[in-house]
Symmetry: C2
Subunit: 399 residues, 2 copies
Amino acid sequence: MNAAGIVVEYNPFHNGHLYHVNETRRQSNADVIIAVMSGSFLQRGEPALVDKWTRTKMALHNGVDIVVELPYAFSTQKAEIFASGAIQILHHLKCQSFCFGSETGRIEPFTISADRLNEKKQALDEWVHLFMKKGSSYPVSQTLAREKIFSDDPLPLDLSKPNNILGFHYLTANNALPNPMKPMTILRKGPGYHDQKASGHIASATAIRKLLFDHKEVDDFLPDSVRSFLMEQQDIGLLHSWDLYWPLLRYRLLSIHPNDLETIYEIEEGIGPRIMNAALKSGSFQSFMEQVKTKRYTWTRLQRMMTHVLTNTTKQEMQTALKNLSFVRLLGMNGNGRSYIRLIKNEITVPLISRTAAGTPFLELDIKASRVYASAPSAPAHYTERLLNHEFSAPPILF
Amino acid sequence: MNAAGIVVEYNPFHNGHLYHVNETRRQSNADVIIAVMSGSFLQRGEPALVDKWTRTKMALHNGVDIVVELPYAFSTQKAEIFASGAIQILHHLKCQSFCFGSETGRIEPFTISADRLNEKKQALDEWVHLFMKKGSSYPVSQTLAREKIFSDDPLPLDLSKPNNILGFHYLTANNALPNPMKPMTILRKGPGYHDQKASGHIASATAIRKLLFDHKEVDDFLPDSVRSFLMEQQDIGLLHSWDLYWPLLRYRLLSIHPNDLETIYEIEEGIGPRIMNAALKSGSFQSFMEQVKTKRYTWTRLQRMMTHVLTNTTKQEMQTALKNLSFVRLLGMNGNGRSYIRLIKNEITVPLISRTAAGTPFLELDIKASRVYASAPSAPAHYTERLLNHEFSAPPILF
């Protein structure tokens, strides 16, 4: 059996994702589609709209054969680390290819750019460092550094587009493997990643979340099965967002010792007092973020910092976790996926975790993240208990 | 001018407290009544029903001339430390006498018992240590130790009664002063401290809180002025109790590192896993406490532990704070109180703090406790902001 991998968040699953699954199957001719999916907290430093089990069901209902978790240590990171974790997991699972959506839609610009950037890596890093020192954010510094180095002969890839950036890092991580997978890309349909407007039957996940929070119609943009999962969740009144966790984050910031705040991953020296002061003066997550934001710290970067404060993830924990991506956690699979897993079981070199318990090695951070995710103060008790129990006692979802 | 001191929590102020204030004035013939009052968290390890500013107003409306704060480091402790902090503060403020309610109502049994217990202090401590080692709680071990030592000639004071215990410790702390104040006691009217039933126009604060939470009539047991303060608070829907803080405590316990839990004041080695496990399995504070409770750990002691977990108060912070009771924080006063303060201002040897700011020396723990107190997740934003602002920018309440 032949497997193709995809890297997803499904926040929530929509028609664009369905197109991605179908195109991956068509282009790769794979027997099995494996999705590596962020768990409770996502790449932009946000809690997932709905829990990972529900998002796994969405995937399995729409053509994905196996869903595995991208661990917290990788899912809440900048593109480079996020991509490296996802690619390693797909490789652990013996995928022969992987396919990502991009603003470009052709793979050559990625392969060419990855090679050329790789050649100039050292010079590039030096320029990035310099621009950051001058006060620019990391993404802006990268753009400026690339402009400096490739001014005479520009790269064939527009690296200001978020999916192109991710794709570029998938390729770089893949090239670093002993036997790389075959990279493929499809053109993203419909509006861009950050766009809040919808067009046709495809809208970005950002746009769909906005419609959901505004209690507006989203049916056009979702497969039928996803609609019913989201309606159930809306009935409980629990679409997760930072607003839901703001009372916990604020409490934490109002009671943490300044020295302890500095042990949290991504918290740099000097920003602590600014954060604690803003927490004191802000009645909402939005106004808190507006007070903390500077040119140097992008919104996304600050959200990631706050995710780590919320989950109490220290620099030391993160260092350990980033070194140890030597396991795969199964979230769900269908019959086809089960056959594939049976087939590769003896070939794969890392533990395949299908049921957790307190103290399961590797999973400390993910278990903590799930516990915090389940602790939204406004959640009904039975909902919190269900999430907490599922994390520990449930086997992967079988479809 | 001549001042008499009282030690109070006013949780809430009721007719029994009014009687205490009036009797203190009558018996002491003092010009000024000074109340040292617990702030946000109380001796039994609970959040105060209403904030300290509102409770200060209750006191000033009912004959108290000056209200000062018993700092967090003392207000959330067993009787011995609680009493020692309160007596030191009254002494700083040049009180000539102090008066407490007791189940006995005469001062001789206290003076005699304090002297006799003082003589046998070492033997007593050894017995207490022994009984605790065998698994008895601290209060039970003390009772057993006293029975051992004074079996032939029992003390003239029933030290199983909570107000007698406190009174006894007031006397002990007072005796340790270079120039002790004159101790006085009045007979507590009406039902006992822990009683949940009311009789006549006096009911215990515990009984009144229960009636309030059950939405039952309490008017008979409260002075008119207190009634309106409580009604305002009930209108916001915010009578503070552990239930209000359970989502924060649970979140904290589900995300704290086991090693960090052991740095918290009163957390003894070995109890950490028991607490964290109970947090995972409990949907309410009540069920959490029932799961953690053992013969060794009384309900009150566990509540104090959980108060320190909630406020993130470490052993080290507490040690420092307990050593430094060299300030007095004014919460409110009337005209008479102001005259007294003007009069003694130059005589008193410690700073009199009437307005705080971040970084005010001595007040770190109290400021943190107030911030946490204000962070109840269900509180309306304007209520939280008002409490947070008051802690920092408001002068003492003038009446």
